[in-house]
Structure formats: C-alpha cells, structure tokens
C-alpha cells in the first residue's frame, strides 16, 4: 500500500513537473519592410506589444518581441525607433523601478541588451541623435496629484555601439517629445515648463537659453520646408519654429473647443498634418469623443470644423513610402484594437486586428 502511494505521489509529481515544462520554443522570423504597430497595452496589465503588418498584408504578426525572445515586454509600449540597425523599444511598467529600454536587432527583433533602472525611469520618446546614438527622454519617478512630476526630467544618451548609457542630461520636469534638426535636439515638456529645450547633439550639452514658446510645448515634426512644428498646450496652438534663428514665426490656434488635438501625423509630402481633435464629454459621463482633421503647413488657420475622417482614433501614422494613413481604434484596453487604413485622400482601404491599444506607428 505504501508502495502504491509512493507511486501515486511520484506519478503526480512527474505530471506536475511535465506541466511546468510546458514552454514554447521561439521561432524567429525576420520582419522586413512594413508597419510596426505600437500597442500601448493596458496600464497595470503591463502588456504593451508590437504588431508587425506587411504593407500588402492583412494578417499581422502579433507580439513580435515575445515571438523572438520568448518573453514579453512587461510594460506599456511607449515608443519605438530604429537607429543604425538597432531597434529601441521604450517600455513603461506600472511599478516604479521596472521600466526598460530593450535594444533589439532590426529584422529579427532579437534582444541585444536591456537598459533598466536607475538609468531608465518613465521613458517617453526616443530619437536618433547621431551615428549609433539615441536620445531617450524620461520623466524620472512620478508622484501623484499636483506632485505628479516630482523629479527633474532627463535625456538618456545611449551609445548603441557599446550598448551603454553614456550620459544623463538633466532637463526641466516632464521632459517629453523630442525632435532632432541638424545637430540640435528640441525637447518639449509636459511638466509645466515654457521652453523648448535645445541640446547640442555633438557635445550632448544644453544650449542656453531654450526657446520660450508657452507652457507645455512639444515638438511634433519637421515640414517640407525644414521648419519645426510644435503644439503648445497652454494656448492650444500649433506653432512653427525657425530652428536656425530660434524664432517662432507662425502661431495657429486649433479650433473646435472644448476639444484638444493629439496623435499628430505628417503626410508623405510633409505638407499636411493629420490630427485627432477630442474631448471628454462631462455631460455624457466623460466619454471620449472626437474626429480626425487635417491642415496644410501654409494654411492661415486651423478651424477644425469639418472632419477629414469623422472618427475618433487612438493613434495616427502615415507611411512615408506610400502616404497611406494608419489609424488605431481602441474599443477598450481589455480587448484587441484595430488598425484602419485610409488612402491619403481619406478613402477607406481595410481594417486589421492589432493588439491592446494601437496608438503609434513606425514604418520601415
């Protein structure tokens, strides 16, 4: 009897052991040219992911980092770009001290190295700032309420050849979007600062003073004429900056109050901005409502009265090769969202199921 029981015990332990070993082998597959859909994930689920969608494909590859590395990103997907053969993924975990920057080999998405705390805390945006050099803006540790931006922001300077952090450049609170023009990086803020901070990308030093534009100004993109466009939250304006003279030479108020613009994307010819103008309707339980608009860089105003597409999206992107517009739809952060593709003129092409919260796009 004791023997039988021993056998039963041994068999159940064995069964348990086998169940524990049930992991799937990764099958690396190269991701060639196409769209990377950045899915933010749900905040505390820490399940952001990247979906790959070929230009002519309708069958996307989901969570390609997990597929290549047999582990998930473990955080919200904040930003992604590619610099000299390396992909840089910014991952924002809901727990302090658990944010990451994953550096992967482009094409295969195999992880090359992972940067972590204390270097990385609330990473926001990444840009190329020279050969094998990435600038990553970070908020630092955040608190709550009025003390949300509790730490100075900073730019993490990453040497992608050695895959190490070479410097931390301290910035005003809430350091946010960043755009590089020539040998200068322009950094915006979400933390109440008035300036676009300017960094010399050759020396990694701040240029003093920055450009005073308005509270919470964030750079968006550089147009066909080489001018930098930025959005000023304080005044609800799109502004055009002459980066050589550091002068704001155009200010356009975005209409359609009480809405605020977001998810800006520049057209293929860099002459038209698309954006989503939205608001939370207090009379309808703060449901988010809005539509998608566009304006030309030479327009004299942005009335935002007749929508380009009469829908609210959680993200917009324009494929620089084809001009096709990719628009993210997030039904909820507890089910997969969709990406709807439109011709540059606004004609609907198709709809593809992505992952949780498709909110940004990267094309290669």
């Amino acid at each position: 009897m004791t023997n039988q029981l021993t056998n039963v015990l041994a068999a159940s332990l064995l069964a348990v052991g086998l169940w524990s070993c049930n992991t799937t082998e990764p099958t690396p597959s190269p991701y060639e040219t196409g769209a990377y859909i950045l899915n933010s994930g749900n905040f505390t689920d820490n399940n952001g992911s990247i979906t790959f969608l070929a230009r002519n494909g309708t069958n996307p590859a989901t969570d390609i980092f997990n597929a290549a590395n047999a582990r998930t990103l473990t955080g919200g997907l904040q930003d992604y770009t590619e610099i000299d053969g390396k992909g840089i993924i910014l991952v924002d975990n809901s727990t302090a001290g658990q944010d990451k920057v994953e550096i992967v080999e482009i094409g295969t998405f195999k992880s090359l190295t992972t940067l972590k705390a204390p270097d990385v805390e609330n990473p926001r945006f990444v840009v190329r700032a020279g050969l094998n050099k990435a600038y990553i803006t970070c908020w630092g540790a955040t608190g709550s309420g009025a003390n949300f931006f509790a730490s100075p922001g900073y730019v993490l300077v990453v040497n992608l050849a050695s895959r190490t952090v070479s410097k931390k450049i301290t910035l005003p609170k809430g350091a946010n979007r960043i755009t590089v023009v020539g040998s200068e990086a322009f950094v915006g803020s979400d933390g109440g600062d008035r300036a676009l901070t300017v960094i010399n990308t050759e020396t990694d030093e701040l240029k003093q003073p920055g450009i005073d534009v308005g509270v919470n100004t964030n750079p968006i993109d550089v147009d066909a004429n080489g001018r930098l466009w930025a959005y000023v939250q304080e005044t609800n304006e799109m502004v055009r900056v002459n980066t050589a003279s550091k002068v704001v030479d155009k200010r356009l108020r975005v209409g359609g109050s009480p809405k605020t613009p977001g998810s800006f994307a520049l057209s293929q010819d860099k002459k038209t901005f698309y954006f989503v103008n939205s608001f939370y309707d207090a009379s309808d339980n703060y449901r988010q409502k809005g539509e998608t608009y566009r304006f030309g860089i030479d327009d004299a105003s942005i009335p935002a009265t007749s929508p380009f597409i009469g829908r609210l999206f959680s993200g917009l992107g324009v494929d620089p090769q084809t001009g096709i517009i990719y628009a993210g739809v997030t039904p909820s952060y507890k089910q997969a969202g969709y990406v709807i593709r439109y011709q540059p003129g606004g004609a609907l092409i198709d709809s593809v199921r992505a992952e949780i919260g498709p909110s940004r796009f990267f094309f290669r």
């Binding site: 009897m1 004791t2 029981l5 039963v8 015990l9 159940s12 332990l13 348990v16 052991g17 169940w19 524990s20 049930n22 992991t23 505390t44 689920d45 820490n46 399940n47 989901t62 582990r71 998930t72 473990t74 975990n93 809901s94 727990t95 302090a96 001290g97 658990q98 540790a141 955040t142 608190g143 709550s144 003390n147 509790a150 730490s151 939370y280 309707d281 309808d284 339980n285 703060y286 449901r287 988010q288 039904p331 909820s332 952060y333 507890k334 089910q335 997969a336 992952e355 949780i356």
Partner: protein
C-alpha cells in the same frame, strides 16, 4: 483526517486552538440550532468543509493559499501580500459572499473581499458553499460563498498558545493566544478565546528578476486581534460576542519615496449573538477603512464605511408528532444600515438601509432531504428580485459500507450593486439595476469503505449559472458602470479522496478537478462582438488540485499541488498567461515537553521553482522555505 485530529487533540490536551473538529454534532445541541443557515438549508448543493488538519497546516498562511490548494476557486493575485480577489465558478470578485459567523463581510464599497487580508489564524472553521445561495445568504452569493466561523471549546481550563513562523525573504509571523473555559455558577459555563497575531512580509528577494521578469518590491505588515466569548446556560441559552480586528498595511516599491504606493485596509468586526431555544438574535457592527496614497503617504484618499446590522430568526419544528419526517421552518428578518464617507464620492456622508425577509424550510426523511427557501430584500432606491430556491438530496444507496446520494437544486440569485458602482463621482451609476441570476446544479456523492483501513469518497457536480444585467465598468463609455452583460457560467467539479489508516500509519490522497466555462453572451456594441462566447479573463478553464500525505504518529509528509490551465487576461482571448502548476512539500511533527506540545512544520513552497505571474505580470517568488512553530500549553485543567 478527523481521526488524526482526534489523536492530536488527545495528545495536546485541551490547549488546542484550532483542532476543534468540524463535527456538526458538537455544535448542534438538541434544543439549540446553531449551525449557520447556509450549511443546513441548501439541500442539493455542494458544501465543502475544510478539515482541521488542513487549517492547522495553513495556520500561518493566507486564506488565498488554503483555498487555491484545496478548491477550484481561482484568484487574481497582484503579488505576495498584495490584493487577491476570487473568481468562484467563473464569476467575478463581486459574486462570492464571504461570511464571518453568518455575516457578509465583503467590503461594501468594493463589494468584494481582498483575501490577502484574511489570515487563516483568524477563524476556527472554514467551509466553501458552491453555487448561488441568495435565498439563504443574500446579496453577492452568486458563484458561491466562503464561510468563516468561530466556535467555543467547552472544556474547562486555560491554554496558552504561541506561534512563530520564520520564512524566506526575511518574512516572519507571530501569534499569541489564550483559550479558556470555566463554569460560572451552577447553570452557566464560559468559554473564550483571545488571539493576537502579526506578520511582516519584507519580501527581501535575493534576486530582482526571475527569467527576465521583474519580482516586484513590496512590504506588507499585518496585525489582527480576535476576542470571542461564549456564555452558555444549562438550558441551552447562549450569549456570545465575537470580535475580529484586522489591519493590513501594504507598500509597493517602499524604497522609492516618490513613487511608492501604500494601501492600508483596516476592519473592525463586532458581533453579539443571543440564542435561546429556537430563536437567534444578532447585533453587529462592522467598520471598514481603506486608505490609498502614492508618494506622500500622510495624505491618503480615504474610504470609511460603517455597517450596523440586526438579525432575528426563529425556527419552528412543524408536525413534530409525525414519525420519519423532520420538518423545520426558519423565518427571519435582517436590517442593516450603511454609512460611508468616501473621498471618491465627494467626501459627504452617504447612507442607505437594507432589509431582508426570508423563510427557509427543510424536510428530512430517511432517504430524502429537501429544502425550499425564499428571500426578498429591500434596499434604498432599489428593488432586488424575489429569490426562491429549491433543492433535494436522495440517498440512492444506503449501506454500512457504501452510500450514494443524488442531489439537485435550482435557485435565483441577485447582487446589490456596490457603493462604488453607484456613488463614485462621475463613473458610478445610481440607476443600476441589481444583477439577477439563475443557478442550476446536480450531482452525485459517494462514500465507500473499501476495507477496514481504506475509505474513499467521490463527488461530482455539474452546474449552469446564468447571470443577467451583470454590471460592468464599461471602458467604451468612460468606464461608467452599466448593466450590460449576460454571462453564462457552466462547468463541472470532480473531487475524490482515498484514505488509509492502519495502526500508527496514515496516508491519503485528495484530488479535485474543475471545468469552468464562463462567457459573455450579449453584444451591446460593435466591438463587443469580439468578446461574445469568450472565456472571462482570469478564469482558467481547467483547474486541478492534489493533496497527498503519508504519516506515522504525529509525523506527516504532505505534498500539495495546484494547477491551472491558461488564463486569458483580455475579454477577447487575445492575450493569456500560460497554464502553470505550483507544488509545496510539508513535513510536520508534534512533540510533548512537560505540559507543552510543540508542533513543528517545515515547508518548501514552489519546489519546482515554477514561474508564475501576478496580475501585473511580475514574477512570483521561486522556491522558498518556512519553519512554523506552534507551542500549546495547558496550565489548568478541570477535566
């Protein structure tokens, strides 16, 4: 198992705190009916009593762990010492009633219980009631109920007990208690228990990650105090007062003074009961405090809710002269008054009253047990449905060595929306309707004595629970709560046990398997099409548990295993955590030194070092160890 407990009791004399057998004969006196109604008036439904040997093994554990290793209840676990909520038979955390001495102690703002705040040391008996039991329990008893209760030990004497746990990661626990009993005068007898406990989970892991997944830094301090006093008259009248204070202090990322998050959960529960003949009167007061703060922990967002409740019940024996048929009717009424100050509601006082009237009928014949029950609740600004239920059990085979019982039941259930669901500024919805459900179940249960030494039990149950107007924080509508969903949960449970007892040797195995399919059935928006018929998040389709033990004398080796299949984390089955299993090994023995008995339990948890995830996708700890020491000593005994 009871045999083992009996031995232990003899060995440890009267000083045992926890080994009061879950033997209803002890509780039920001839004239006074003291069993909690849900254990008597739900014929045809599955009731699982957790034996006292298991309670003793988990004496330093959380209720979460005990249930996960011994039942198919699935938990959403946010990390060690962090929030743990339950899914019972495919329902949400709001659909399990947690009763303490017959009173629902779900936190009323959230309408659920954080099982991590309820240590097993906090109660004497534990049972799990499967399926809806609204007619008997009231609101929340949709998927099932967890029944915690305290009980007197009428033996005279004084016992002192000291418990200490030392565990991996610099975690430790201490329990200090007294149990006392004495006659007071010629007609009265007193029994009491005082227990204080504390635990500190420092969670100082020697690693920051496991297989590239972070192990979250957190610290939990838990304190509790229990005071039970029972006074019994020779004629059966009894007065009792039960008190349970709990204080749970959780800090996530304590080392980061800017980003740390502190959640403090405190509860005071006080219950006075008077029982005479067939009348029971209860008066209770429960205060729940809940503070959450990020960064500066001195200015938390606060929730304060008080509940005053009264309950009166009387039981009648109908047709007492009729031979062969015992018919009992219990009628009762309950009143509760809620008062809440909650920052999230605007901070002003909000009150509401709830009343319940119910009638419970139980008929027992030689082979038949039938119950028919009905309840109507009345809630301020609500109109809960009338909830009847009907159940029956029939002994198909009734033999000394073999019994086979068939069971069936049908019952309606309801859930009064939580205070948050109605009053949360902006998102709450005062126009919510109570959810209502219909639970059907049927089963067979078998007990067999195979040889003098070998016994077996087997139990199989199938159920279908349909819940309409399931309320939902609709992310498509600014997270406003709406009665949107229709959920059908259906499944089957199989449990079986085999026990061997010969001379000083004992061995046994208990195995459980549950199949749970629970899905949303109604499309209420374009994209809700994607979630129809999909398994609800965090509800595994397959769960299994195995407990196997072998022992001689007081020494015992136990292997506990729980396994769950894939758990989806989204409503559309697009993302999931893989299936996992977790195995613990326990070795225990009791020695006597003078008047003291010393119980030592060594425990290796997660011995296969399996990678399990919290809801936040953090790795749960790998293999870890603990030593539990429980010293019981009786100083005086008049036995």
């Amino acid at each position: 198992m009871l045999v083992l407990v009996g031995l232990l009791i003899r060995q440890v004399a009267m000083a045992q705190f926890v080994s009061v057998p879950a033997d209803s004969g002890r509780v039920l006196s001839a004239v006074t009916v003291r069993a909690i109604a849900s254990e008597r008036f739900l014929a045809g439904q599955k009731l699982q009593r957790i034996d006292s040997a298991t309670l003793l093994q988990f004496r330093f554990g959380a209720l979460t762990d005990l249930l996960a290793f011994n039942s198919p209840l699935a938990f959403r676990n946010y990390g060690p010492g962090q929030l743990a909520t339950v899914s019972f038979r495919g329902t949400s955390a709001n659909h399990t009633a947690v009763l303490w001495n017959g009173i629902n102690i779900n936190q009323p703002n959230l309408g659920q219980t954080d099982f991590s705040t309820l240590p097993v040391a906090g109660f004497d008996r534990l049972a799990v009631q499967y399926g809806s039991s609204a007619s008997v329990v009231g609101s929340d008893a949709v998927g099932g109920s967890v029944l915690l209760s305290s009980g007197p030990d009428w033996r005279s004497g004084l016992g002192i007990s000291l418990g200490q746990q030392l565990a991996s990661f610099q975690n430790n626990q201490t329990q200090l208690g007294l149990r006392y009993g004495t006659p007071t005068g010629r007609a009265w007898q007193l029994s009491g228990k005082t227990l204080a406990y504390r635990s500190q989970l420092n969670n100082q892991y020697p690693y920051a990650e496991r297989r590239n997944y972070f192990v979250e830094q957190s610290r939990t301090g838990q304190r509790g105090f229990i005071q039970d006093v029972y006074l019994r008259h020779r004629n059966g009248r009894q007065v009792s007062v039960n008190t349970w204070l709990t204080d749970n202090d959780l800090v996530v990322t304590p080392q980061d003074t800017i980003a740390r998050e502190r959640t403090r959960t405190q509860s005071a529960r006080l219950l006075a009961t008077y029982e005479a003949n067939r009348t029971t009167l209860r008066l209770g007061w429960i205060r729940d405090r809940f503070d959450y703060a990020k960064g500066n922990v001195s200015t938390p967002s606060r929730t304060r809710t008080d509940r005053l409740l009264g309950r009166a019940e009387r039981e009648f024996r109908l047709w007492p002269s009729r031979a062969g048929l015992l018919t009992d009717l219990r009628i009762g009424g309950e009143w509760s008054h809620y008062r809440t100050y909650t920052d999230g509601y605007g901070g002003q006082l909000i009150t509401e009253n709830r009343q319940d009237l119910y009638a419970l009928l139980r008929m027992q014949a030689t082979r038949w047990l039938v119950s028919a029950t009905i309840r109507q609740a009345f809630v301020t600004r609500f109109n809960p449905p009338l909830t009847p239920s009907l159940g029956a059990e029939h002994q198909i085979i009734r033999h000394n060595l073999l019994t086979l019982t068939a069971k069936a039941s049908a019952g309606r259930s309801y859930r009064v929306p939580t205070l948050n669901e109605r009053y949360w500024a902006g998102l709450g919805n005062p126009d919510l309707r109570p959810e209502n459900g219909l639970n059907l179940e049927t089963g067979l249960s078998l007990t067999a004595t195979l040889t003098d030494q070998l016994r077996m039990t087997a139990d199989v149950t199938a159920y279908r629970n349909r819940i309409d107007d399931w309320s939902y924080w609709n992310p498509d509508y600014g997270y406003r709560v709406e009665n949107l969903q229709l959920v059908v949960a259906r499944g089957a449970e199989l449990t079986t046990s085999l026990s061997y007892d010969h001379n000083r040797w004992r061995a046994g195995i208990r195995a459980g398997y549950a199949l749970t399919r629970s899905a949303q059935q109604r499309a209420y928006s374009t994209y809700a099409q994607d979630v129809i018929d999909k398994q609800l998040p965090y509800v595994p389709i397959h769960t299994g548990t195995i407990n196997a033990y072998v022992g001689r004398g007081s020494a015992r080796l136990t292997v506990q295993t729980q396994a769950t299949s894939r758990r989806y984390i989204t409503f559309d089955e697009s993302q999931s955590f893989d299936g996992v299993s977790l195995t613990n090994v326990l070795l225990e023995s009791t020695v006597r030194i003078g008047p003291a008995s010393i119980r030592v339990q060594g425990q290796a948890n997660n011995i296969f070092d399996a990678l399990l995830f919290s809801v936040k996708r953090n790795a749960l700890p790998g293999r870890n160890f603990s030593i539990n020491l429980l010293i019981n000593s009786s100083f005086v005994s008049h036995d």
